[in-house]
């Protein structure tokens, strides 16, 4: 039979299941008969249960998951040998545009438009930055009467900010990015856990009317009047198409 002073140093390991079979049996026998060590072991077990019962269960928030997925894409782009020498996302996005155009047998004409390439690259860059930097909005509001005036005097174009919560795309706020050296308004929407950035620029010369989709993010473009809209998101392309539909319906009416 073990003595108490031999048992005590091993109590933690005993309740943690870290003892070898022989020792465990020896301790168990001692604990069963000892009026001091038995309750001591029971108190340790009770502490463990109390900790487990009282401790909140922390889970990674959905927003963090999507942030991380985006960050991994950006990271991959930065470390890919082909893009290493180029200025980060711009070249990466451009290379995807080329890949899309080539991969889809020429149905996309976007590669012919060097200027649009660059814009698309910068917009995706901006979209990712907005997710990575915990700087999603400059003005956080679902109220169009707050968001729209905020842009006045800050940019050349006045973006039509409409809340589309009823259609499943709540307005989160607005942000001003600098793209191609100019301030560009971005409207920020959510689609469940996805963020949709809608960049508003002067209308393109051609209405590209397409959705680029690669590596889990999509970029959709359309013109409306003298404004060009570029929606960037990791939501499914079909959801971006749906977004364009409800956004146009709400802004043109």
């Amino acid at each position: 039979m073990m003595r108490c002073d031999e048992v005590r140093p091993h109590l933690d390991a005993y309740i943690d299941g870290e003892l070898a079979e022989v020792e465990r049996t020896l301790l168990r026998d001692h604990l069963a008969g000892c009026p001091e060590c038995g309750p001591e072991a029971a108190a340790l077990e009770r502490l463990r249960n109390d900790i487990r019962l009282s401790a909140p269960i922390y889970r990674a928030p959905e927003a963090l998951r999507s942030r991380i997925r985006f960050a991994l894409r950006a990271e991959g782009a930065a470390s890919a040998p082909a893009a290493r020498a180029a200025p980060g996302w711009l070249a990466y996005a451009a290379s995807i545009l080329v890949a899309v155009a080539v991969g889809s047998g020429g149905t996309l004409l976007v590669t012919g438009e060097r200027q649009e390439d660059t814009i698309a690259g910068e917009l995706i860059d901006s979209h990712l930055r907005s997710l990575l930097a915990s700087h999603l909005t400059d003005v956080a509001s679902s109220d169009q009467h707050t968001v729209k005036p905020w842009f006045a005097g800050r940019s050349d174009v006045a973006p039509p900010a409409v809340d589309l919560a009823g259609e499943g795309f709540p307005l989160v706020g607005g942000r001003l990015d600098v793209i191609g050296g100019k301030p560009v308004p971005a409207l920020v929407y959510r689609r469940r856990e996805h963020v949709i950035n809608v960049f508003v620029l002067p209308a393109s010369r051609v209405d590209l009317g397409f959705t680029l989709s690669r590596h889990g993010y999509s970029l959709r473009h359309w013109n409306e009047g003298d404004l060009g809209f570029w929606a960037a998101s990791d939501a499914a392309p079909s959801e971006l198409a749906e977004f364009e539909r409800v956004f146009r319906a709400a802004t043109s009416g």
């Binding site: 005590r8 933690d12 900790i51 963090l64 991380i68 782009a77």
Partner: protein, 184 residues
């Protein structure tokens, strides 16, 4: 093409590491004691893990990620809240039971007793100095074994055991309000 290889690497990384994101977040949350900070730390840690993914060999992905999350948490704390990482510094360089350990145990007692709002056990756990807090969290909540805890925290198993013992003694005294401890 490079991006195809890159995508393959990324999807392998995501399937190996992301299942343990909750565990990583929980550890960062306990170490930083704050939701927003934990999210920042975890994002930084996952990106770091991705960068070092080539050095990851088949094995325990959870411990691997937790080790990186832990290290990132500490460097984040050192940058932003250096006071949070101080208490057990005295332990460094000492064998278990040395002066440093005694000092640290004393600090822990004082720390836990100086707070009057510590009516809940989880708040007590949160008030422990980080090196004691992390062994409790890894053992009781992540349910890791001693060897895994040693791997995650980068200290010998003996140190894991003595820290665990000290943390439990401090918690019991503060929680149950009775002096039942022997060794410290």
């Amino acid at each position: 093409m490079a991006w195809i290889a890159e995508r393959r690497r990324r999807s392998r990384f995501e399937s190996v590491v992301l299942p343990h994101l909750d565990a990583g977040y929980a550890l960062a949350r306990w170490l930083t004691r704050n939701d927003a900070d934990a999210a920042d730390v975890v994002q930084e840690a996952v990106l770091r893990a991705y960068r070092y993914f080539d050095t990851y060999r088949e094995g325990d992905a959870k411990s691997w990620l937790l080790r990186i999350v832990r290290r990132t948490s500490y460097s984040w704390l050192e940058r932003n809240r250096p006071a949070d990482v101080v208490p057990l510094d005295a332990e460094a360089g000492h064998e278990e039971g040395g002066t440093g350990a005694l000092l640290a145990a004393g600090n822990t007692e004082a720390l836990l007793q100086s707070r009057s709002d510590l009516r809940r056990l989880d708040v007590l756990v949160e008030a422990l100095p980080a090196p004691l807090r992390e062994v409790i969290v890894l053992r009781e909540l992540h349910e890791l074994g001693y060897r895994e805890i040693a791997e995650v925290t980068g200290v010998p198993i003996g140190t894991v055991m003595s820290r665990l013992h000290r943390a439990r003694s401090a918690l019991r005294r503060a929680w149950l309000g009775k002096d039942t401890d022997d060794a410290v």
